[in-house]
């Protein structure tokens, strides 16, 4: 536990701290730096202060007994009558993490008719699968589902709880972490488990082009959400191992005041997350109709098309076509970006693609730090040229 303090007698008001702060947490007020509510105690200002006028104060705070909280719990999501693939990816990651500290990996299934999936999960190296199967859990209601997971967490006291960053998981996880007054980190792109069982959660941070390492230092369990396609799915083993634990339904489920009225499924369109080839347009596109070239190239390559955030904000297309922290994470075999600058919120959601080709007129654009191949130049020449050459080759 720490906080940042600025020593007034040493400070000469140079303002380096305010400039260097990645969170904009230092305001210069009449030539004196003042901390505001955005401070995350990251310590960047300490390093940048030429006067050594900024210090980090450590204070002792009581922590829970971490040895009482063991093992990793994965929330196995069932949506549309199917096990969501992110659940398997999380089990794979959990097993990797668990190895170093001799933890076991457990999974929990909540819903109606989810019991059959328990047998399937036993093929992925989990120790125990807890099942809460009840007609009252037919449709996802955050309060009702949270009651079930809370019940199992109280029973097994896991150190870490991993939840898929789907719309369901994003509603469930905050309700749960709040019930345990503990930390939750959204959209982690990397996870590491320290020997003291602290989970190091890495995610793109707040506005700037930075990644933050976040730790829940003194409470348990440690909740984290991870998106689909960020972690690798484990191999299914032929043999099943582990046990299934059927639990009775906690009474909070029946007490939920929320009633399901109707569900209107949207026609199943292919998600950009499932595409093997993606052609992406960014801020460099000057008008909406230029997206037609992006779509044409995607068509020629039998792939799909996507955009970066500025184009969604301009209203050219919808959020489900957007790659990035506020859109989807993708991991195709080939991705070609046109006029995308490559801010961290974008780059961190596509940098695991097999082949990344970036076209941008600015040779210094950050997208070239993640790309395998750079084509520096005007997309209005390169894109039509590429389309023409591919058409010729295919003819």
């Amino acid at each position: 536990m720490a906080q940042i303090a600025i020593l007034e007698r040493k400070c000469n008001g140079c303002g380096q701290c305010a400039k260097s702060c990645p969170f904009g947490a230092i305001d210069m007020n009449n030539g004196k730096p003042e901390l505001n509510a955005a401070c995350k105690v990251c310590g960047v200002c300490l390093k940048n202060c030429p006067q050594k006028a900024i210090v980090r104060l450590e204070t002792k705070v009581e922590s829970v007994d971490k040895t009482q909280w063991n093992d990793i719990l994965v929330f196995a999501e069932v949506s549309g009558g199917q096990l969501h693939p992110v659940s398997l990816e999380l089990i794979g990651k959990a097993r990797e993490l668990a190895k170093n500290v001799n933890f076991r990996v457990n999974a929990i299934l909540v819903g109606r008719g989810v019991e059959p999936f328990a047998q399937e999960l036993l093929h992925y190296g989990v120790h125990e699968v807890a099942v809460y199967d009840d007609p009252g859990l037919s449709f996802f209601r955050a309060d009702a589902y949270a009651c079930c997971v809370e019940d199992y967490i109280k029973l097994r006291k896991p150190s870490v709880v991993l939840v898929g960053a789907t719309s369901l998981g994003r509603s469930l996880a905050p309700r749960l972490s709040t019930r345990f007054h503990t930390g939750l980190t959204a959209d982690c792109t990397q996870l590491e488990l320290r020997e003291n069982t602290d989970l190091v959660q890495i995610r793109p941070a707040f506005g700037g082009n930075i990644m933050a390492q976040i730790v829940t230092t003194r409470t348990r369990p440690q909740f984290a959400t991870v998106r689909y396609k960020v972690m690798n799915a484990p191999e299914r083993s032929a043999e099943a191992a582990g046990t299934v634990l059927n639990r009775s339904i906690p009474k909070g489920v029946a007490e939920s005041p929320v009633r399901h009225v109707s569900t209107e499924p949207v026609p199943a369109v292919e998600s950009i997350s499932d595409a093997e080839i993606l052609v992406v347009g960014g801020r460099g596109l000057q008008k909406e109709s230029d997206l037609e070239m992006i779509r044409e190239l995607a068509g020629l390559l039998h792939g799909d098309w996507a955009v970066s955030r500025p184009l969604v904000e301009k209203g050219w297309t919808t959020n489900n076509r957007q790659i990035g922290l506020s859109g989807r994470t993708v991991r195709p075999k080939l991705i070609i970006t046109f006029g995308v600058s490559g801010a961290i919120q974008f780059a961190s959601c596509m940098n695991k693609s097999d082949h990344i080709i970036a076209v941008n007129s600015d040779g210094q654009a950050p997208i070239f730090e993640v790309a395998h191949i750079a084509v520096v130049g005007d997309l209005y020449q390169i894109l039509p040229d590429m389309i023409r050459r591919i058409k010729e080759a295919q003819a």
Binding site: T185, A186, N209, I210, H260, S262, E313, N319, H372, V375
Partner: protein, 259 residues
Amino acid sequence: MKILVCVKQVPDTTEVKLGSDLTLQRDFVAQVMNPADESALEFGLRLKDEQGGKLTVLTMGKPAAENMLRESIAKGADEGVLLTDAAFAGADTLATARTLSRAIAFLGGFDLVLFGRRAADGETGQVGAMTAQMLDIPCLSNVIAARLDEALTAEQLTESGVTQWRMPLPAALTFCEWSYALRLPTIMGLRQAKRVEIRKIDFAELGMERMSCGLHGSPTRVIHVDTRPVGVRPCQKMSVEDLLETSSWNDAVSKEDKQ
């Protein structure tokens, strides 16, 4: 009926400028209301137009966030409340939710608490659901439309479709960006906004423990920040002509052709 809209000031990301070190240049970035919060505010205003009641706008942040509250009043909100104190500094989502829920109780409670589904800067999308949990009221996230008669009906957007839910008040909703386009201020509203006093509440007035808000009340800690995050690849520069001859291009494209 008492309606509360929780809003946040965020950097206007449509006009991002990156410095030479690739961090956001905050000096040049205007602060605006978070886009998803605009939907929540507009829904609240429409509800008030139809059914009457009092609409309060609440934010936690720097003193400068007062402007955003005045703009909300110019658009039809009745009052603005600003939670501002150095003791709130460094709050993570849990500490923020705890402070908001304390303020909600302090202000006498509300029938409907509205949020944006996530902030455009932090993008965690946690504060709404956490606050609702602390208030022990139901919360529906990713709402694209809602209406109120004897009970509240809301349409929730998920990956697989749109689901309609019904629940009694009090309740909380978190709205998707662009589901309700926020109106412009009125002349009357602008006059009102100039005159009205923005209520500022600090840590002492809320009567919170120092250990429950701000950095002290946050279970999560940023322990390290990496400014060259994704790793730099040895990126090969080439022309389109050469690109189409590379094996990586041909492998990726030909596999698809066979299908």
